[in-house]
């Protein structure tokens, strides 16, 4: 038959998964599985990574029988639970203001929350350390001015209250963004029925709406609590000086606290934390039926708002107060601090700190590294997430879910634990050891860390692409690759860019993962900032460095948006001339998408 030439021979396709999927699975297993396995093994090693040692139970025994471990557990639970209680309460409150009331400033809430969400924890924590940790910060300055007396610490943020307050500031936007959809979607007729039946409005909210939200709230509470257990940055900066240790900071102190790092002990403690998280995640899935509360519809209801009378001024005030504490105050302190040649001396302002930084090769290097990590790391994580989601949704091979599962497993590994696992993996294995100390290892670990977040955002977008759209392209004569580029990529572009930006920012501001991996040769801005702040007492430079980081992020956002709009305009122009494809709609401005991005973190 003359057609035989174009007939493709299939190597027993039903048994063997396609090579691309095999490659993806191998890459994912190495990237994601290796640190986990090595961490597990590391808890039972007598020597640090990369050196000869024996298998032993001594570290595990020591850690698990130490009373301090259980004090740490208690601290972790108290901190995470309290910050999420505050976060959820305020999140519901603000979502309710936006969804239901005629509060004048309500339109500012969402943009404000997005900005607060995008600011790294490190930024807020250090800023509050400056504000209320030293006698020279703005808060204590003011307090002393009011109360009189000599400069001293009147309000001390290095305390339980300070720690909870600052942590909560960062939880509120997450909870708000996740809750806005469900609150908007609450069935209005139920509420109206209650009002018709003579129930007061406040009462309607408490009796009808809150119970309706209960499943969503409890799901979020568990999820948030789990995430909170693993956060290092704020507890490290504000808790450790007050001798308050939680799991992540205790793990860090095993490694950085004493004369020589105690890897096995750190790993043993990490395993306890991971086990706790897994237990909670599984319990949640079991009791709440694994329902996903964050898949929100962006549907908005344009029905009447409640006129809450004079309360609307109180609500407006609440918005202003939150903006002040979460945004204005920390940003103001960092800006002011970065302009003071000597921190707290408020009679002289100049750009000396910036000049010093930009002349310092370490700092310039760190800025370059961080930019690279943000841009490349975000891109790689998003691309990887796209392939993983695509494989899980489209492939028919039995292998297809494995990459997705591996990525999800990482959710149970907090940043510092993942960093530790990476150290084990890349120091113990000879070939990989060459990567240690280079920027690549930081990049790899951060990509792994952020992948579940990216995966969540991208998966939502992949699901929305009807399979028949791809099949129609195949039938039209496009190969599988061509379909991926010509149809899938184009449809997914807005979600891709949004995810790239969000993960890039998250990666660039991350301290938890990079703190163990980044040294003099491969420093990142967050790590350098922390060093300036904690060890060298160069607070002014820490402030300046953070300001530079935020300026760069803002600039990238503006430039990115501009470029996107420009490309869109150019394509639209070409289309008008040639009936060419139009550029997809605006970059993910939908609340649902943003909320989903966040939910992974």
């Amino acid at each position: 038959m003359n057609a035989a030439a174009s007939e493709a021979r299939l190597p027993s396709l039903r048994r063997l998964p396609p090579p691309a999927l095999v490659a993806l699975t191998v890459v994912v297993l190495v990237l994601f599985g290796l640190p986990i396995v090595m961490l597990l093994a590391g808890a039972f090693r007598s020597a640090p990574p990369g050196s000869a040692g024996q298998w032993t139970f001594s570290a595990v025994a020591a850690v698990y029988s130490d009373a301090d471990t259980y004090r740490t557990l208690g601290n972790s639970v108290v901190l995470s639970a309290s910050q999420h209680l505050v976060g959820i309460a305020l999140g519901v409150f603000f979502a309710w203001i936006v969804a239901r009331t005629n509060t004048p400033l309500r339109r500012l809430i969402t943009p404000m929350m997005v900005v607060v969400f995008a600011i790294p924890n490190l930024f807020v924590a250090i800023s509050y350390g400056l504000l209320a940790g030293s006698p020279n910060g703005l808060v204590n300055d003011l307090a002393v001015d009011l109360l009189g007396g000599r400069p001293r610490v009147v309000v001390d943020v290095y305390s339980w209250w300070g720690l909870i307050f600052v942590s909560s500031l960062k939880v509120v936007p997450v909870m708000y963004l996740l809750l806005l959809g469900p609150v908007l979607a609450l069935n209005r007729s139920l509420e109206e029925a209650a009002v018709m039946a003579g129930s007061g409005r406040a009462r309607t909210f408490l009796r009808i709406q809150l119970p309706l939200l209960a499943p969503v709230l409890s799901g979020l509470a568990v999820l948030g609590f789990v995430v909170g257990l693993g956060l290092l940055d704020t507890p490290l900066i504000l808790g450790v000086p007050a001798d308050i240790y939680v799991f992540p900071s205790r793990i860090y102190s095993y490694l950085a606290g004493g004369t020589s790092p105690r890897y096995a002990e750190a790993s043993a403690l990490s395993l306890l934390l991971v086990a706790l998280i897994l237990l909670l995640v599984l319990a949640r899935a079991r009791f709440l039926g694994g329902r996903d509360f964050t898949t929100l519809t962006g549907k908005s209801y344009s029905s009447e708002r409640w006129d809450i009378g004079a309360w609307k001024w109180a609500c407006s005030a609440a918005i202003v107060v939150f903006a002040f504490f979460a945004l204005v105050l920390p940003a103001g302190q960092l800006l002011v601090g970065s302009l003071q040649p000597i921190f707290g001396v408020s009679d002289k302002y100049n750009l000396d700190n910036y000049r010093t930084l930009l002349e310092d090769s370490t700092a310039v290097g760190a800025i370059g590294n961080t930019l690279l990590i943000g841009v490349v790391g975000g891109f790689v994580a998003t691309t990887l997430a796209l392939f993983v989601a695509y494989a899980a949704r489209r492939s028919r091979s039995r292998l297809r879910r494995l990459p997705e599962l591996s990525v999800w497993l990482v959710v149970a590994f907090p940043g510092i634990v993942l960093g530790l696992g990476t150290v084990w993996a890349y120091l113990s294995i000879p070939v990989l050891r060459q990567l240690y100390g280079s920027l690549w290892i930081v990049l790899i670990a951060l990509v792994v860390f952020i992948s579940p977040t990216a995966g969540r955002a991208i998966d939502g977008a992949v699901v929305q692409i009807d399979r028949e759209l791809e099949e129609a392209a195949r039938i039209s004569g496009a190969s599988a690759t061509r379909t991926l580029i010509g149809v899938v990529a184009r449809l997914i572009a807005p979600a891709f860019l949004a995810t790239w930006f969000v993960t890039g920012v998250a990666v660039a501001g991350n301290l938890d993962v990079s703190i163990l991996l980044s040294g003099p040769g491969n420093q990142t801005v967050p790590v350098l900032t922390y060093n300036y702040y904690s060890q060298n007492g160069q607070t002014e430079q820490a402030a300046a460095l953070l300001c530079i980081l935020m300026a760069i992020v803002a600039a990238l956002f503006v430039v990115g948006r501009g470029l996107y709009a420009l490309v869109g305009a150019v394509l639209a122009h070409r289309r008008r001339r040639k009936d060419r494809p139009q550029w997809p709609a605006d970059v993910g401005t939908g609340r649902g998408r943003r909320a989903e991005v966040i939910a992974g973190g």
Binding site: E7, A8, L13, I475, G477, V487, Q582
Partner: protein, 406 residues
């Protein structure tokens, strides 16, 4: 143009067999419809022909070229098969304009842009959407989107056109016009076409030939007329509208006709055997309710094809009157033209009570009963609270028909 040949095609999903050793030939230039109830494997068959599914066994060839032969591990990818397909969801690419959607297959075939523009223009003209060329594809109405999908499928002059329930998303009126348009386009292009539907009217009006499928196999193939007029199995009969049934027994076979005595009576009905019937076989007599007529009981003289019955319910339906009859304990429906359409005067007169039921000769088929043992235990169909019979569940529901031949 090309002939499509499917041999012993099998496709399984896990342990379920969606298509089961299916044989099918679509002649060059023919418009063939796959008809069957939901889940019988129509879409799967179509997708195997398109190359969107990989069959577990059997061969598919188009125009004499083997497209897939599982035994030889041979599989031509869909983009190499030179076919056009109209999807149920239309699957227009939302990021492209109408004309870009239609132009895409040509672009992939590297047709020069001047030629491309010309052919896209022609196609849009053909489906009557020329003025929508620059619009975003998904901003069109359902009917317009469907026409874009047809234009896109046709533009590369494929050898075969596939349609998966092309009309199911349209409202009734649009369905009729689009059906006629598809027919006209087919008449003009003469492209071999395969269409999937579960709507019998659609199948009858669109196609040159209809293939009725059941549980992944071909139940009967033929022209719409053959299928509609002379169903060869009880399943097909039920599917194409033989909605009335009476159980009986073959008492005589003569001159190509069968004589069936209705159970519970001494009356004999002369009818056509649906297939080879042995003498004394238990059969089901299948009829269209519109072919059953009703007369006042006084005419009753025990003649052939007349059975006594009792009117249980009479419902005026405008152009027809529907009688629910009890014939020796069996429920039977009759649609009689009403006096409104100048039909039998009796329809206006007959009310409740005993009547004579006249069964047609040519429009009645005897099929071997598949559920005889079952039916014997339960002489009459259950009657609902209003006196109307519940749907006879031994009639065509495919799940109950897979039947053990007890």
């Amino acid at each position: 143009m090309a002939e499509v040949r499917v041999e012993r095609l099998t496709k399984r999903y896990g342990s379920a067999t969606a298509v089961d050793e299916l044989d099918l030939t679509v002649r060059d230039g023919e418009f063939l419809t796959l008809l069957g109830p939901s889940g019988c494997g129509k879409t799967t068959t179509l997708r195997c022909i398109a190359g969107l599914e990989e069959p577990d066994a059997g061969t598919v060839s188009i125009g004499g070229r083997v497209m897939s032969a599982s035994e030889r591990k041979l599989f031509v990818r869909p983009e190499r098969r030179d076919i056009g397909m109209v999807f149920q969801s239309y699957a227009l690419w939302p990021h492209m304009t109408v004309s870009a959607n239609v132009a895409y297959p040509l672009k992939l075939r590297r047709v020069p842009s001047a030629e491309r523009d010309r052919r896209v223009g022609e196609m849009l003209e053909l489906v009557g959407l020329a003025e929508f060329a620059g619009r975003s594809a998904t901003s069109l109405s359902g009917g317009q989107q469907q026409r874009v999908a047809v234009a896109r499928a046709l533009v590369s002059a494929p050898r075969v056109l596939l349609f998966d329930e092309p009309l199911s998303n349209l409202d009734t009126r649009l369905r009729a016009t689009m059906g006629a348009e598809l027919r006209a386009i087919h008449a003009r292009t003469g492209t071999t076409s395969i269409c999937v539907t579960h709507d019998q009217t659609e199948a009858l009006t669109l196609s040159d030939r209809v293939v009725v499928m059941r549980d992944g196999r071909v139940e009967q193939a033929g022209t719409p007329e053959e299928i509609f007029v002379t169903p060869r199995t009880r399943f097909v009969a039920h599917f194409v509208g033989f909605d009335a049934a009476l159980p009986g027994r073959v008492v005589e076979l003569d001159g190509g006709m069968a004589y069936v005595r209705i159970d519970g009576t001494d009356r004999v009905v002369r009818c056509r055997p649906g297939s080879d019937l042995p003498l004394d076989a238990a059969v089901d007599l299948m009829l269209r309710s519109s072919a059953v007529s009703v007369q006042p009981a006084e005419h009753d003289d025990g003649a052939l094809n007349r059975v006594p019955g009792v009117v249980v319910d009479r419902a005026f339906q405008g152009e027809t009157v529907q009688f629910t009859l009890d014939v020796a304990g069996h429920r039977l429906l009759a649609q009689v033209p009403s006096h409104a359409t100048g039909g039998q005067a009796e329809a206006g007169r007959i009310d409740e009570g005993p009547v004579e039921v006249v069964l047609p000769e040519a429009g009645a088929f005897a099929f071997l009963a598949e559920h005889r043992a079952h039916a014997a235990e339960r002489p009459a169909a259950p009657v609902g609270p209003t006196g109307l019979p519940l749907p006879a569940d031994d009639l065509g529901l495919p799940t109950t028909l897979g039947g053990d031949p007890r």
